[in-house]
């Protein structure tokens, strides 16, 4: 849906429904229907998660896929590629093999009508450059995910930007993951650590340091100094991987930003994300003229499933209720 102020569209990565997929309470068709029912008409998938018998993409599956798109009024938006550099126990994939792997992912995307392939953050600038001509030939955009703790001034991302600016390839771009805008520590994560037996004083220390946007570089060392064990150390590691940066930094790169992974951990009953301030992010996307999809990526299940029932459908629904509000959509 669009309005006069912007052309931002809404969608869901079916990764969001991984709990129900895993427990076999939702089929792939159920996931597509759930997205469609909340007006999230853009469908993103992880082929390795959603395609039975992957890597064998059958004609039957492709036909069924397009029949579902028509039935539910949905549109394929993106696939996620993985660079399994340690595919073989005894050696590493060569750069040529890595490029070939991306080419295969591009072929899968083309067959499913996906205009975008996400390149996982471990994809090197050399591999992006090597795969770009094939992506151009196939009319697919290959976007490097900007995933915490990386950000737009990080050397790894700067190298990717150098390739994009030097080659001017229309196939290359960025896919920001909203976990780079974790302003407040996700309580589902700290509460899980407490349930796993973490020392409350150390948990408080980690959460307060994060929420004050303090320096988390040596946090894992500090946890060791304070006598923390594996659970506290794990929490510190997580805290040093989330980041909060100014969403306005995206404005400098807006022509390269083609798709947003709308990561979230907890949508409250008030339809607000507890830790990621979408009310600060979406106005920036509108201001920058972003016209791609906000694609939900729910990742809270793993933090609550030990103690609470997971309802990914409701969590995604709440996120889209928030998007509708922030995008000014009129029903």
């Amino acid at each position: 849906m669009t309005n006069a102020r912007h052309s931002i569209k809404r969608g869901v990565s079916l990764y969001s429904y991984q709990e129900e997929t895993f427990l076999r309470t939702m089929s792939l068709e159920d996931c597509i229907r759930a997205a469609s029912e909340i007006g999230a008409h853009g469908i993103e998938i992880i082929p390795e998660q959603s395609i039975p018998d992957f890597t064998n993409l059958t004609e039957e599956f492709v036909d069924t896929w397009f029949a579902w798109m028509e039935k539910y009024g949905t549109t394929p938006t993106a696939t996620n590629s993985y660079l399994d550099t340690k595919l073989y126990p005894d050696r590493w994939l060569t750069v040529e093999e890595q490029i070939a792997s991306i080419r295969t992912d591009i072929d899968v995307a083309v067959r499913l009508g996906m205009p975008i392939v996400k390149a996982t953050i471990n994809t090197s600038p050399e591999v992006m450059e090597g795969a770009a001509p094939y992506a151009e030939e196939k009319g697919v955009q290959l976007l490097i995910e900007v995933h915490a703790p990386f950000h737009y001034e990080h050397p790894w991302i700067l190298e990717h930007l150098e390739v994009m600016h030097r080659t001017q390839s229309p196939a290359l771009g960025l896919m920001p993951d909203m976990m780079t805008y974790v302003k407040r520590f996700p309580r589902v994560v700290s509460e899980r650590a407490l349930r796993d037996g973490a020392n409350p004083a150390i948990v408080d220390y980690i959460v307060e340091l994060y929420d004050d946007h303090g320096d988390t570089h040596a946090l894992m060392d500090i946890v060791n100094y304070r006598g923390g064990g594996p659970v506290e150390y794990g929490l510190a590691r997580v805290a040093s991987h989330y980041i909060w940066t100014d969403p306005r930094k995206m404005l400098d790169h807006m022509p390269l930003i083609k798709h947003i992974q709308a990561k979230f951990y907890e949508m409250t009953e008030d339809e607000v994300e507890y830790s990621i301030p979408y009310d600060e992010i979406i106005p920036v996307l509108i201001e920058g003229g972003f016209d791609g999809y906000l694609s939900s990526e729910y990742e809270g299940n793993r933090h609550i499933q030990d103690a609470f029932p997971v309802d990914s459908v409701e969590q995604v629904r709440r996120q889209h209720a928030m998007f509708v509000r922030l995008l000014g959509e009129v029903a």
């Binding site: 427990l23 890597t55 399994d84 550099t85 340690k86 996982t120 471990n122």
Partner: protein, 132 residues
């Protein structure tokens, strides 16, 4: 720990066969992984450790010796399909067995530490189940 340890070995996972016990095992990772990722299967049945060298495995309708999985990079273990471990222990339908399984999946795109070691995501099961 693994997020979905409960589902790795399920209530209906055990089947008695003429040549031993079949144990259906499900992945706890969110995407399909190449069979080379199935690197650690520390299985104990009724308190007796099972040497992986004696295990064979059926996945996607193909039966392999466990050691053969190390070269099966082009075949994937899908998220909702079981891998069936064929365990050479005596059993019969209706018999109970205590199954302790430490499953380790080597994640080929998440590399950690100075040696670029793939993340080994563990899962731990300890259940007493009845063979069908």
């Amino acid at each position: 720990m693994g997020p979905l340890d409960d589902q790795v070995v399920r209530e209906d996972s055990l089947t008695a066969t003429a040549d031993g016990l079949n144990v259906a095992v499900y992945t706890h990772w969110y995407r399909a992984l190449p069979l080379t990722s199935l690197t650690k299967v520390d299985l104990t049945v009724d308190g007796q450790p099972v040497d992986p060298a004696t295990l064979s495995v059926t996945v996607n309708g193909h039966r392999y010796e466990f050691a053969e999985l190390a070269v099966k990079a082009d075949e994937y273990w899908f998220t909702t399909d079981p891998v069936v471990l064929h365990v050479p222990v005596a059993t019969a339908p209706g018999r109970q067995h205590r199954i302790q399984l430490q499953l380790g999946l080597s994640i080929p795109y998440i590399l950690t530490g100075p040696d670029r070691t793939p993340l080994l995501t563990p899962s731990s099961t300890d259940k007493t189940l009845t063979a069908a």
